[in-house]
């Protein structure tokens, strides 16, 4: 055994192949403690693996027992977690080697490749492997079963249901609320309103008023267009100058824009607009 590292002796003093729980902990344990202990054992095992990385046969032996353990552990783990255990949930990491977070309150969606999405399979606690990169990290990791799965990995919050349907529901609800907040940002005066129904009321009113404004302005444009046909219409400019026309128009448009901008952005937009329009017609 080559590597002259500090932890080497302490770990190799114990039997390197007997890392099963029953040998280390001779007392009868229940499920929760067993899962916790397996965590500790596996993290210990990772240390040894990283230190013994140079040594082939030991690592091979370790890996075989590792897979045994994790196979058993994986089976037990899904049972534990499906019973909505309140202990900290498993961290899911995709093969891109994201950071792992231990505490369970953040929810994070990691997309694997989208190919596996078609059959709609979402594992409740996304057990992906950490790939090759994770195995050699000397951080505290839990060994996960190897093959990377192509699902959307969603991490559940503490104490919430982890079955497939509720996760899908939650994802859908989050999407909808995201879009609602985007809408709230656009509409003036909607930041203070709480509750989806009221916000939607505001949105509907706003769209209706915008459409009415467009209607009104189009009538005005029509009047201006066809009313005094000699002077201020669009047809006045000779068609040869059409290239220059938009630029002139836009220059004056943007000089007048400043007056209009303030009107649109004020909270009483409706009254201001209507009053402004009435004043202009008279």
């Amino acid at each position: 055994m080559d590597p002259p590292l500090v932890n080497d002796s302490s770990f190799s003093a114990a039997n390197p192949s007997s890392y099963t729980l029953s040998e280390i902990w001779p007392f009868p344990v229940n499920d929760a403690v067993r899962s916790g202990l397996r965590l500790a054992v596996n993290s210990g095992r990772v240390f040894t693996r990283s230190e013994h990385s140079g040594n082939k046969d030991v690592s091979a032996a370790e890996e075989s027992t590792v897979t045994d353990l994790t196979a058993g552990w994986g089976a037990r783990k899904t049972r534990d977690l499906n019973s909505e255990d309140d202990s900290s949930k498993v961290v899911s990491s995709s093969s891109s080697g994201n950071e792992l977070k231990e505490s369970g309150d953040k929810k994070r969606k990691l997309c694997g490749s989208e190919s596996g999405n078609g059959d709609g399979s979402m594992r409740p606690e996304g057990e992906t492997s950490s790939g090759g990169g994770g195995g050699s990290k000397a951080t505290e990791q839990k060994n996960k079963p190897e093959p990377p799965k192509d699902y959307i990995h969603v991490r559940a919050r503490r104490g919430q249901a982890t079955d497939r349907h509720s996760l899908a529901e939650r994802a859908r609800r989050e999407k909808i609320s995201e879009k609602m907040t985007a809408l709230q940002d656009i509409i003036p005066g909607c930041n203070k309103i709480i509750g989806k129904a009221l916000v939607l009321d505001e949105i509907i009113n706003y769209i209706q008023s915008l459409q009415r404004q467009v209607e009104f302005l189009s009538m005005k444009l029509e009047v201006v267009n066809s009313g005094a046909s000699t002077g201020p219409t669009i047809g006045v400019f000779p068609s040869g100058d059409l290239g220059t026309l938009p630029i002139d128009v836009h220059r004056t448009i943007y000089e007048q824009q400043e007056a209009n901008e303030t009107r649109v952005s004020q909270p009483e937009w409706l009254h201001m607009q209507v009053d402004g329009n009435y004043n202009r017609t008279t």
């Binding site: 009538m219 026309l245 128009v249």
Partner: protein, 220 residues
Amino acid sequence: MASLISDIEPPTSTTTDLVRRKKRSSVSSAASSSTTAGSVSSESHARWRSEKQQRIYSAKLIQALQQVRLNSSAATSSSPTAQKRGKAVREAADRALAVSARGRTLWSRAILANRIKLKFRKQKRPRTRTKIPPMTTVVNSSNRSRKRRVSVLRLNKKNIPDVNRKVRVLGRLVPGCGKQSVPVILEEATDYIQALEMQVRAMNSLVQLLSSYGSAPPPI
């Protein structure tokens, strides 16, 4: 010409400064996080609030208005678009807006598709019906074929929950989103509201310009 264009570029007022700052930050955020869902709204926000877009829209609107004016002066009393004489400007404005949207949104495609369908249907009908006097035929068909089939079923009678019902109402307001799912409707509404705001701004300034041009010639 180039000097005129360069005149337009620098913003002058405080509100446009704010808009520009917001647009810059939102554009940078959109560039950095192009895959997040929030980037959709920020990117569309930048698009519809930019002056360049408004310029494009105003140019198209002016061309459309010229055409409408030519049409209305050419056909005298009983134009083929008898019903539309009152709404010609509004529909031209909506169409110009839809074209400026570059076909990426549902509502813009619905507006343009509706117009094309209408044109085809109008050309077909007077040929097939010969017994009935053509005037009423045309009016009726254009009446009926103008509106897209928005479901007028009373939403109050169903027991769908409150928020969903309001989203359905919203979907009826936005053109082309009558029967879409809730997230689609919300997204289309976002874009549609911004486009409408731009339309109102452009038409306001156009009206002001034209009415001021009538009263006093602009300084050159």
